[in-house]
Symmetry: C2
C-alpha cells in the first residue's frame, strides 16, 4: 500500500470537457487534489443549473485525501469546493489570496465556514502535502493571482500549468515566473499536464493590454452611454474598464451580483484600486448626462436572467436602451452560447444601440495559451510524459500532436478522460484502470442533486407531450366505473375529447381482455399502461409520457356502483 | 386600388433571421413573390422541426397573387412552397431548372402535383407578372443555377440579389452575369435588396475552387477511408468531392436521403457528370480496401439522426469508425449548431479518426458575399433606395452601414423586419404599416402545425416537472372521497408519497374552505387548481404544471360512499 515508486494521476473533471476541473494525484497513502471546479449543463439537461464531478473515488479513499491545492479563483476551478467539502473531509486547502477570498464567502453561503483550513500561499512558496512537495509558480491568466504548480514527488517532478497564457505585458505587472519553471526543468520534469483550452488556435494569444487600445478609443469617441459586458471573473478586464471610465470622466454602475462581488473583493484585497464615488447606484444613472455613464454588466453569454439580456429585451427594471448607447461585448461566446449571444446583440441593435462585438473588434482577448504558447511551455519543461488537460477530446488530441512536434515521444503522451488512471514510474507510464467519473446534476436555486431519471422524464414529455388517464374500476378490475382523460403538450388533429373517447373504448376492450386472460401475473395497472402505450403509438404515431391513475373500489361498494 | 405609382415591398420571412426567405412585392392589383422558404426552430421550440412564415397577408390578398419567382433551389428559398400552395393559390411558378426539379419531387411528396404551373427560366429570360417584368440574371452561389432578379416596375427597377457571392472562377464555369446587372443599372435602379448573410465578415469570400487544393491534398495523402460531410444542398462541393474521388481512384457511398436525392437529380438534369459505378452501396464498402473508399454523408451540423452523428456515436447500422479514417467537415456550423458539431468531432476523435475541421482548415468556403462583394454589388447597382435582406437584425444594420459607405443616403436605407411594409414611389420611400408576420411551427414527421400554447405547456413541464391530482368528491363537492397523486420530472427532497399526503390534507382544507365560502362563483375545479398551485409554489418553491382530474359523484351514489 505504501509503494512510493508509482504516482497515479486521476482526473475527475476537466478532461474531455471544458469545466469542472478536478485532478487527483496519488502516491503511497497520499492523495492531493488540484482544483475542484464546477461545470455548466448541456442543452439536453433542462432545469439543470450546474454540473459537478462524481466524487466516489475520493469518498472511497477519504482517508488518503491530504489536501486541496487551488491554482486560481475561477468557478471552473473552485466552484465545486462546497460540494467537495460536503462529501469529503479535506483538512487543508492551499491557494492564492484572491481565490481564497472568493472561496471564503462561498463557504459562508453554504454554511461550511470552519470545516477546512484555508492557507494563503505566495509565489515560490513550497507546501508539503504527504509525500508531495508543491511549489506555487506565478503564471498569467485572465484573473489576478494565478498559479502553475511544480509538484515534487518521490519519482520526479510534475508540472500542472493551471490555466495560463504567456502575457508578457500583464495588466497587473505580475510576470510569468519562467525562472522557477526552468529551475524545476533543470531537475527534470517527469510529467507535464498543460491547459488545452485554446489548442485549436494557431499563434500567440495577445496580451490583455492590447484590449486597452480599442477600449480607450471607444471611450474617447462615444457620445452616449457606454454599456460594457464581460465575464464577472475576468478581473483584469474589469480593472481596465474602470480605468477607462476614470480616464474619460465617467461613473460606473455595476449590474449583476457576481460582478459586484468580485469588484468589491478585489478592491478589499488590494487587487484593484479605485476612488470612492467611481461606482454609483443604478438609480443615480438617470441623474447623470449620458456621456458620463458606464454600465458594467454581466450577461456576456446571453444568460436569460442577466442584466444585459433584460436590458436588451426591454425588461430591466431600471435601465432601458437609449438610441445612441454604445454596447461593448468584451468577451467571446463559450461554445453553445453563440445563439443566445447573437439574440442579445440583435435585440440591442433593434433598440438603436451601437454594438461592438466579434473577434475582429479588438475588445477581447483570451486568457488561455494558443499553440505557440503551448509549445513554449513544452520547450521550457521538456517533460518525459505529457497529459493534455482542460479541454474537450478533440482538443486533447490536438495538444498531444503539438507535444509530439516538440519532441515528446508518441508513446509518452496520454489522451485521458475523466476517471482514467495513469500510473507513472520513473521510466514508464500506463493507463491502468478506471474509477467512477460520472456527473452530478445540480438545480442550484435549490442546491438539489437531480436524478437522471427525472431528466429522462422531462425530456420524454418535451418530445411528445403527456397523457394522463384516471380510471375507477370495481374490486376485481373487471368493470370500468369511471374514466377521465387529460393531455398536455400533445399535437394531434383530433380534439382532446375525441382522443379521450377513443382511449376510453380501448380501455374497455383491454379490461375485457384482461378479464379473459388466464394468466394474471401482470399487475392490472401495468397491463393497462402497456396496452395504452402501444395503442397510442400505433394509432397516433406518438410516444407521449403516459400516466395511469387507477382507483380500485373495495368489495363493499361494488354492488352499488356496478 | 389600381394606383401604379406606388410599389410596396413586404418581406414575410428572412428579415431579422436566417431562413424562410419569402418576399412579396405589390403594385396596383398585382402581387408577385420572390422565394418561399422554410426555417429551422430555436432551442426553445422542443418538438418543432420546421418554421414557416405566417401567410395571412397573402391569404387575405389571394386574388392579387399573380406568381412566385424562385432564385435558387435551397430549402430556405423553396422549402415553404408546399405550405404556401396549401393556403394560397399560385397559378405560376418561375424558376431555374434545378430548383424546379427539386420542387417537383417535393410537390409529388405532398400530393400537390398539378396545382400550379412550373415554368423553367433561362439566364436573361424575361417574364411578365402583372405589371412586373422580371429578368433572371445568372449569379454565383453554392448551388448551381442560381439567379438574381431585375424586376422592372412602373416606377423603376428593383434588384433582388437572391443569395450570391462573386465567384470569379466558379466550379461550373457559369459566370456572374454582371453585364445584365450593369445594363439595368444604366436604366437606373430604384431599389436594391441584397443578401446580408455574411455582412459581419470583412473582405471577399474565396472562390469555391480554392477548396479543391486542400481537398485533393487530403485525398492524395489519406491512407485509410475518407469520410466527407457537407450540406446536401452544396452541389458545387459535392461535385468537387466526387471529382476528387475519381481522380484518386476511390468509390463513393452516399449516406443520407437528401444527399442522395440531390446527387441523383443533379446528374439527371446534367449539372453533374460521373460514370456509373462511381457510387456504390453501403454494403459494398466492406469489400473494398480502406484507401479505395469515400463516404459522403449528411450530418455536417451534428444533426442527431444524421448518418455521420450515428457513425460518430457508434450507432450506425453499417459504418463504424476505423482508426485511421480521415473525416473532413466541409461545412461550417450554422449559429446554434456549434455545440452539436463539436460533440460529433469529439466522438469521432475518441474513436481514432483524424478529423479535419474549422475555418482555417481550407476545406470550406461560404456561398455568400462578404463585405467587399456587398460593396461591389452596391457599386454596380448604385441604387436610390436600399433594403438589406436575408439576415438577422444586427447584420441588416451592418449592411446598411456598408450601403452608406457606398453612397446611399442614410434616409434611403431601410432596416425592415418581417411584416413591415415599405411604400416606394419614384422619389420617396416610407415604412407605412405592418402586416401579420408571425411564425407557424411544424412537426414535420406528421406535417402538423403546432400551437404555441402546446409549446408553452411543454416548456413549463421541462422547467419544473408536472403534478397530477385525481380526486373524487360527492355531488356537491363538500367531501373528498378518494385521492390520487402522481408526479413526473419533479425535484424535491421529499418522497412522492410524502408530497402526495401533504397535498391531500391541503385539499381537504381547501374543500372545507370552499364549502364555507358564501360566493361559489368560481368553479370548484378551478378553485382547487389555483389553491394547489399556490400551495406548491409556497411550500416547495417550484411551479410545476398542475393537472387536476375531478370526478364528482352523482347524487344517487352519495349516501353509499360518504
Amino acid at each position: 500500500m505504501t509503494d512510493k515508486t508509482t504516482v497515479k494521476v486521476i482526473p475527475l473533471g476537466g478532461l474531455g470537457e471544458i469545466g469542472k476541473n478536478t485532478m487527483a494525484i496519488s502516491c503511497g497513502d497520499d492523495i492531493m487534489l488540484v482544483d475542484a471546479g464546477l461545470g455548466f449543463p448541456d442543452e439536453d439537461m433542462p432545469g439543470v443549473d450546474l454540473v459537478l464531478p462524481d466524487l466516489t473515488y475520493l469518498i472511497e479513499n477519504q482517508k488518503q485525501v491530504k489536501a486541496l491545492t487551488i491554482t486560481h479563483g475561477h468557478e471552473d476551478h473552485i466552484g465545486g469546493i462546497p460540494y467537495l467539502l460536503k462529501h469529503v473531509s479535506v483538512k487543508d486547502i492551499y491557494g492564492p489570496a484572491l481565490a481564497l477570498g472568493i472561496l471564503e464567502s462561498k463557504l459562508k453561503e453554504f454554511g461550511l465556514t470552519g470545516v477546512t483550513n484555508l492557507h494563503k500561499v505566495h509565489p515560490r512558496e513550497r507546501v508539503q502535502i504527504g509525500c508531495f512537495n508543491v511549489e506555487f509558480v506565478r503564471c498569467t491568466h485572465s484573473i489576478a493571482d494565478s498559479f502553475s504548480l511544480v509538484i515534487r514527488t518521490p519519482i520526479g517532478n510534475i508540472v500542472h500549468t493551471g490555466d495560463f497564457k504567456f502575457d508578457f505585458t500583464p495588466v497587473d505587472g505580475e510576470l510569468f515566473d519562467i525562472a522557477t519553471l526552468t529551475a524545476a526543468a533543470d531537475e527534470g520534469i517527469l510529467l507535464l499536464m498543460s491547459d488545452s483550452t485554446n489548442t485549436e488556435k494557431a499563434g500567440f494569444t495577445p496580451s490583455e493590454k492590447t484590449v486597452w487600445k480599442k477600449l480607450s478609443e471607444v471611450f474617447a469617441n462615444a457620445q452616449g452611454r457606454i454599456i460594457v459586458t464581460t465575464f464577472a471573473s475576468n478581473m483584469h478586464r474589469i480593472k481596465q474598464i474602470l480605468q477607462a471610465a476614470m480616464q474619460y470622466d465617467r461613473q460606473v454602475v455595476i449590474l449583476g451580483r457576481s460582478m459586484l462581488n468580485i469588484a468589491d473583493l478585489a478592491r478589499q484585497l488590494g487587487y484593484m484600486k479605485y476612488p470612492d464615488g467611481l461606482i454609483i447606484n443604478v438609480d443615480e444613472v438617470k441623474e447623470l448626462p449620458a456621456d458620463k455613464v458606464v454600465i458594467l454588466t454581466t450577461g456576456s453569454q446571453g444568460e436569460p436572467l442577466s442584466a444585459l439580456t433584460r436590458i436588451a429585451h426591454d425588461s430591466h427594471k431600471h435601465i432601458k436602451v437609449i438610441p445612441g448607447d454604445t454596447v461593448i461585448f468584451s468577451a467571446t461566446p463559450i461554445p453553445g452560447n453563440e445563439r443566445s449571444v447573437a439574440n442579445t446583440i440583435n435585440a440591442l441593435s433593434l433598440r438603436g444601440a451601437h454594438v461592438i462585438y466579434g473577434k475582429d473588434a479588438g475588445v477581447h482577448v483570451s486568457g488561455h495559451a494558443c499553440q505557440e504558447e503551448q509549445k513554449l511551455m513544452l520547450n521550457i519543461c521538456q517533460p518525459k510524459f505529457f497529459v493534455p488537460i482542460h479541454g474537450e477530446y478533440r482538443m486533447l488530441v490536438k495538444h498531444t500532436q503539438i507535444a509530439h512536434q516538440c519532441g515528446v515521444g508518441v508513446e509518452n503522451t496520454f489522451v485521458m478522460e475523466n476517471g482514467d488512471v495513469l500510473a507513472l514510474t520513473k521510466d514508464s507510464g500506463k493507463m491502468v484502470e478506471k474509477v467512477p467519473a460520472g456527473i452530478v446534476l445540480i438545480d442550484s436555486s435549490r442546491a438539489w442533486e437531480i436524478d437522471e431519471t427525472i431528466l429522462a422524464e422531462r425530456l420524454e414529455i418535451v418530445k411528445d407531450g403527456a397523457i394522463t388517464i384516471a380510471l375507477t374500476t370495481n374490486s376485481d378490475c373487471s368493470k370500468l366505473l369511471s374514466f377521465d382523460y387529460t393531455q398536455k403538450g400533445l399535437i394531434l388533429t383530433d380534439s382532446a375529447e375525441q382522443i379521450g373517447k377513443t382511449i376510453e373504448s380501448e380501455i374497455k376492450r383491454v379490461i375485457e381482455k384482461y378479464k379473459q386472460a388466464a394468466d394474471k401475473k401482470i399487475h392490472f395497472q401495468t397491463y393497462i399502461h402497456e396496452a395504452i402505450k402501444q395503442f397510442v403509438q400505433q394509432k397516433y404515431e406518438i410516444k407521449p409520457l403516459i400516466q395511469v391513475i387507477l382507483h380500485q373500489l373495495s368489495h363493499a361498494k361494488d354492488s352499488v356502483l356496478s
